[in-house]
């Protein structure tokens, strides 16, 4: 039944005291927020904590929610601000981006493959994600965040513009320039692999 309600209706009922209904919103957005945070920090604990904090903040400030704007835009704005705050804390300390899970560390454990994929596919998938995470970390933060919002958040350009407090054209330019730089980086990587072989 909750699936039929839109975000604004759920928030209206949550504000009226039906607090448990907020869980439906958590289920709706948790995965996308996790993808974003994971691609930014690469550490599951940090990502889950950030997502949880964003939902708690939205719940605590529920009375300030106004149906004139989308709940998703609000949630992403809160989350992006939290991520930026966390990012500032993180850059004060040495930053760690893992290039590959198959390092020399003895603690590295290969996860059990799911039924639909071979171990090789699982390895390739993880490597691909790590590579993307690493290249995203090399981009200017606004470009990388725009790309994360577009692809991991599945947001429209208008929503990205609202969330990042910039113009629509700026949001598009950030995504475009970020993609151009990423594409260039991937091409370089492919070329260097070709040279080695």
């Amino acid at each position: 039944m909750n699936q039929n309600l839109n975000d604004a209706e759920i928030m209206k009922r949550v504000c009226a005291g039906d607090f448990l209904l907020f869980d439906a919103l958590v289920m709706r957005y948790r995965e996308r927020l996790l993808k974003f945070a994971w691609s930014k920090y690469g550490r599951q604990v940090a990502a889950e904590d950030l997502v949880q904090e964003a939902f708690l903040a939205a719940f605590a400030a529920r009375n300030s929610y106004n149906p004139s704007f989308a709940f998703s835009t609000w949630l992403w704005t809160i989350f992006l601000n939290l991520c930026r705050r966390h990012f500032k804390q993180q850059i004060r300390q040495p930053r760690e981006v893992v290039r590959s899970s198959f390092s020399t560390s003895e603690e590295t454990v290969i996860p059990e493959p799911s039924s639909s994929e071979t171990p090789l596919q699982a390895v390739l998938k993880t490597e691909q994600f790590e590579l993307l995470t690493m290249y995203l970390a090399e981009l200017p933060e606004v470009q990388a965040d725009s790309l994360r919002l577009r692809f991991f958040g599945g947001m429209k350009f208008t929503e990205i513009a609202l969330t990042m407090d910039c113009s629509l054209s700026a949001a598009k330019i950030r995504v475009k320039n970020g993609l151009l730089q990423l594409a260039h980086r991937f091409s370089e990587d492919t070329a260097s692999e070709g040279d080695v072989s």
Binding site: W38, L56, A60, Y65, F69, S103, T108, L162
Partner: protein, 200 residues
């Protein structure tokens, strides 16, 4: 579909294979070029999104990376004993709500069609400007001296009238005497008159 919409579809997480986009790409070499340039980055995103569409798979993917990270190395979150959700975070959420309310209000104002009232106001303004223009033109025409110069094009205001013509008029009507003018002033008057007629 225009190129702007095509770019939105090219970078769309799920709809990047739609027929409409493919048709546009066939017709538009510029967008095709753009897609080919961005292809390495796009395919990387799309591959990850396609493969990790299920939550369980996503968790597997993350948990593998988790094993290589040292959780204790970066104490980025509040230490034990401190509240997880700070007042600052709640304030941040409230500020975000205020900003979004203001921005959506501004956008709606901008999107609203021009009302009849403002159209009426514009028409009145245009009419007033037109009236002012007519009045100014009429005023200028009243300032022009009644004695027109015969045989020459209209002499611009502030310029000396043609002295040769004036002399001819003088000879035609002996009652009026023209003051003796210098050669210099005659030359200047000719230049003024003939330049004006050439320009016209």
């Amino acid at each position: 579909m225009n190129c702007d919409e095509a770019f939105e579809l090219i970078t769309h997480p799920t709809d990047h294979q739609c027929e409409e986009l493919q048709w546009h790409l066939q017709m538009c070499p510029r967008c095709r070029q753009m897609q080919e340039t961005l292809a390495p980055a796009l395919s990387s995103f799309q591959q990850i999104l396609d493969e990790s569409s299920e939550t369980d798979e996503l968790t597997d993917l993350y948990s593998e990376m988790q094993q290589t990270a040292d959780h204790n190395a970066l104490p980025a979150f509040p230490a034990a004993g401190k509240p997880f959700l700070s007042a600052e975070t709640v304030r941040m959420a409230e500020q975000a709500a205020t900003r979004l309310t203001a921005e959506t209000g501004v956008n709606r104002k901008a999107d609203r069609p021009v009302s009849l009232k403002s159209n009426h106001k514009r028409l009145v303004n245009a009419a007033l400007i037109l009236m002012a223009g007519i009045l100014m033109g009429w005023g200028i025409s009243l300032d022009v001296p009644e004695k027109s110069i015969t045989g020459a094009a209209g002499v611009p205001q502030g310029k000396q009238s043609c002295l040769w013509i004036a002399r001819r008029d003088e000879s035609a009507s002996p009652s009026t005497r023209m003051e003796k003018s210098s050669v210099n002033s005659v030359v200047l008057s000719c230049v003024a008159c003939h330049l004006q007629s050439t320009a016209e």
